[in-house]
């Protein structure tokens, strides 16, 4: 590629095809780094709230060993739904089930407390080799 062509090019690669291959490689690399870190290096898992809500019941205590799929806490949240063109909000109660096995190290909130999406709710010891 000439210097003049290089100046006009939108990519650092020789062609768009090379850029596509590099993008596949980088995405793969990012996934491998994240999965390896999460599977083998993460010491503990902070389980975060999936939505805004309020804790109504905590089903585990510190020191408990939990299995994948085990109910961890019950929370109340608001669900938005379009019904005949109108937005309707209803309060629903949901149970959060563990996505990972491990031992409960600490509870960050008590029953009755409100939380925002992304707030840490409890910390679980990570079982090496599993994806939390």
């Amino acid at each position: 590629m000439s210097a003049e062509d290089k100046k006009k090019a939108l990519t650092v690669f020789k062609t768009d095809r090379h850029e596509d291959v590099a993008a596949c490689f980088f995405a793969g690399l990012a996934v491998v780094i994240v999965l390896s870190y999460m599977a083998f290096f993460l010491p503990s898992v902070t389980i975060k709230a999936p939505v805004d809500g309020k804790l109504t019941e905590i089903k585990v205590k510190v020191g408990d060993t939990i299995a994948e799929g085990q109910p961890l806490y019950v929370y109340e949240t608001k669900k938005k739904k379009f019904v005949q063109g109108q937005m309707q909000e209803t309060a629903v109660t949901e149970t959060f089930k563990s996505k990972t096995p491990g031992k409960v190290l600490s509870l960050k909130l008590a029953a009755g407390e409100a939380f925002k999406k992304g707030n840490g709710l409890l910390v679980v010891e990570h079982v090496k080799g599993t994806l939390p």
Partner: protein
């Protein structure tokens, strides 16, 4: 430019890339949280929630300011190589977006999305060809504009240009015109979407059909709803957009045939040849990621592993957005005036309005997936 070794090329990328990363870091970690706390009209978070001025839009605006104010229209040599990684970041992010879907969800979106997109892609190309003939434009320019307006700006224009023997200036004009229209769409569609009470599904489908450039579809969806998760505007907009991007080789083939038939010349290009040389293979990466996600190999939905993967995705896209802004040159857009501008604005507006009407009439608020 002298030939550099691999390490030399890598070193040349560092300054520009560092500038993009630092810009994103400041906007995402410092400016956006600060703006979210500022009270306007007695309402905290008014700027980020009501106006939708989030880190995505700010990244593009700051990128535009770098190009047009700080660099006065031309990215300097020390930063140019780094800024050229922009599309790499956007493509990498799009591949990672595949993790938001499962094969089951893609099968559900299939029929409706494909029908709408095929109708809009080829409808726009025919419209551009008809208008180009009326305005007496060069066939090569019409070919590039048709691909740019029909499919997705930059990549389609570049992919079509060799087939229709377009000059670099024509490609630049087409790109500048559709990017110019796209910028306008980026700022006006989120408030329209909010005012009409569009759901994330409807907004994603509208923008994924109506906006001409992949990066801009992404930015617009993120400014409507900055969350990256299944069921958000960006998830729907991108799946619409990916179906459109897949049509690139077919569009290139169609326009090339049209061009050469008109030029009364023989060109022996097989469909396989076009597919082999033009198919955007990063789209295969997207589907690869979807396959991994369908088999729960990236962690279960709602898991901490997927949270972390989406955090990385947000950073990768953010860097791409700063670069995208820096490729918007007001001077080039001004130069692109005249016939290409008329066609670009007419085709773009028609597509945007028509797709909105169809979405309001036929697409429900809630997705079937």
């Amino acid at each position: 430019m002298e030939e550099r070794g691999f390490l030399g090329k890598l070193a040349a990328i560092v300054p520009g890339l560092a500038m993009m990363v630092l810009t994103l870091y400041l906007l995402k970690q410092v400016v956006e949280p600060w703006l979210a706390g500022v009270a306007v009209f007695g309402q905290k978070g008014y700027i980020t929630k009501s106006i939708g001025l989030n880190y995505v839009l700010m990244s593009i605006l700051v990128g535009m300011a770098y190009r047009n104010l700080l660099f006065r229209g031309r990215i300097p040599d020390w930063a140019a190589e780094g800024f050229r990684t922009t599309r790499l970041f956007i493509k990498t992010g799009v591949i990672m977006l595949g993790s938001l879907y499962t094969i089951q969800s893609l099968a559900k979106v299939g029929g409706l999305a494909i029908a709408l997109i095929v109708a809009f892609v080829f409808g726009t190309i025919f419209f551009v060809m008809w208008m180009g003939k009326k305005l007496g434009m060069d066939r090569s320019m019409v070919g590039v504009m048709g691909a740019a307006c029909g499919v997705c700006g930059v990549s389609a224009a570049i992919a079509t240009s060799p087939g229709v023997k377009a000059k670099p200036a024509e490609v630049a004009l087409a790109i500048a015109t559709i990017l110019g229209f796209g910028i306008m769409s980026m700022f006006i569609t989120p408030p329209i979407g909010r005012a009409l009470g569009l759901s994330d599904y409807q907004f994603g489908a509208w923008v994924g059909t109506g906006i001409l450039n992949s990066g801009q579809v992404l930015a617009t969806c993120l400014s409507f709803n900055p969350a990256i998760a299944p069921g958000t505007a960006v998830a729907y907009g991108e799946i619409w957009n990916v179906v459109r991007v897949i049509s690139i080789p077919f569009v290139v083939f169609f326009i090339t045939l049209w061009y050469w038939r008109g030029e009364a010349k023989e060109e022996h290009m097989s469909l396989w040849g076009i597919l082999k040389s033009k198919f955007p293979i990063f789209v295969l990466g997207f589907f690869g990621m979807t396959a991994l996600s369908s088999f729960d190999m990236l962690g279960k939905e709602g898991s901490e592993t997927l949270h972390m993967l989406r955090d990385w995705m947000a950073w990768i896209f953010g860097i791409g957005m700063v670069g995208l802004g820096a490729y918007i040159d007001f001077g080039e857009i001004k130069k692109a005036g005249g016939a290409p501008l008329k066609i670009g604005v007419a085709a773009g507006t028609l597509k945007l309005v028509l797709s909105l009407v169809i979405i309001l009439l036929f697409i429900g608020k809630e997705a079937s997936f």
